[in-house]
């Protein structure tokens, strides 16, 4: 499954690049992915927030050994994305346009929120010396692995 997921991610990225390159050429009447996002920036403010969050999930991902925290994080983050999507819809209807600095705030906010509320569940390593021992009930606090 690990190999399949990596293959899928790679193929998806390559496919999207090829499609976008085709769209960029003048002879197609279809707008590129970038143009669609650029035209609908206000409507897609939820997507901006989501992008920032996904960035944090890749490079600033917190780990947790408590089951359920990651699922709770998904629900909280998804709710915020949904709320912002509705806000974007009403903002567009009322002629409001998101400024560039506001886009930056959305990106960073998405990253910060994902970092704080959306950890990744990881099975605790029972062989680690940092795990609480049966005798003391507390960990040594130092990694004494060779």
């Amino acid at each position: 499954m690990l190999k399949t997921s990596r293959k899928y991610i790679f193929l998806l990225v390559v496919a999207l690049i090829i499609i976008d390159v085709v769209l960029v050429t003048d002879w197609t009447k279809y707008p590129t992915f970038s143009e669609v996002v650029e035209q609908e920036r206000t409507l897609l403010m939820g997507f901006t927030f989501l992008f920032g969050g996904l960035f944090a999930k890749i490079y600033y991902n917190q780990k947790t050994s408590i089951k359920g925290k990651d699922k709770r994080g998904v629900i909280i983050f998804s709710t915020l994305v949904l709320l912002l999507s509705f806000l974007g819809f009403f903002a567009k209807q009322n002629g409001f346009t998101v400024a560039t600095w506001q886009q930056l705030v959305l990106l960073i906010s998405g990253g910060v929120v994902a970092y704080l509320v959306w950890p990744q569940f990881k099975e605790p390593d029972i062989t680690s010396p940092l795990m609480p021992t049966a005798k003391t009930g507390t960990s040594s606090g130092r990694d004494t692995r060779p």
Binding site: F33, S34, T100
Partner: protein
């Protein structure tokens, strides 16, 4: 909204949704460490350290963008083409370095690449240029 735009939007949404479903399946399976974020992080800290720069450049291109071009005498098409070619060139160079020169990537380096990528997308690959 015209039909071509609606079609491209539909493709974007379709790809996005199928990706989300795939990620949910990966999260629920018994294999650990196979979700996209972990795979991308692994690749970024390995040979493919161009990934944070490229992703951040795409973010800068899609969501930010200066209104003033670095090349005031050139056309808007030049700005768009320059951004793409420069990103390909820089990413290609970083890929080559990553492949030939193994070195330890720190969080500081990754963060620097993210910031530089965002700046690149904002200044050199902007869709907001006014001529």
């Amino acid at each position: 909204m015209d039909a071509p735009t609606a079609l491209v939007e539909g493709v974007l949404i379709g790809v996005g949704l199928s990706f989300v479903l795939f990620e949910v399946a990966l999260n629920l399976n018994d294999v650990e460490g196979d979700t996209t974020n972990i795979v991308l992080e692994e690749w970024s800290y390995g040979k493919f350290f161009f990934i944070p720069f490229a992703l951040a450049a795409i973010a800068g291109h899609l969501f930010l963008g200066t209104t003033t071009s670095f090349f005031p005498d050139k056309s808007i098409e030049f700005d768009g083409l320059f951004g793409v070619l420069a990103l390909f060139g820089i990413s290609g160079l970083m890929l080559l370095i990553g492949w030939l020169v193994p070195f330890r990537k720190t969080k500081f380096l990754i963060t620097t690449l993210v910031v530089l990528g965002l700046a690149f997308g904002h200044f050199f690959w902007s869709m907001n240029i006014i001529k």
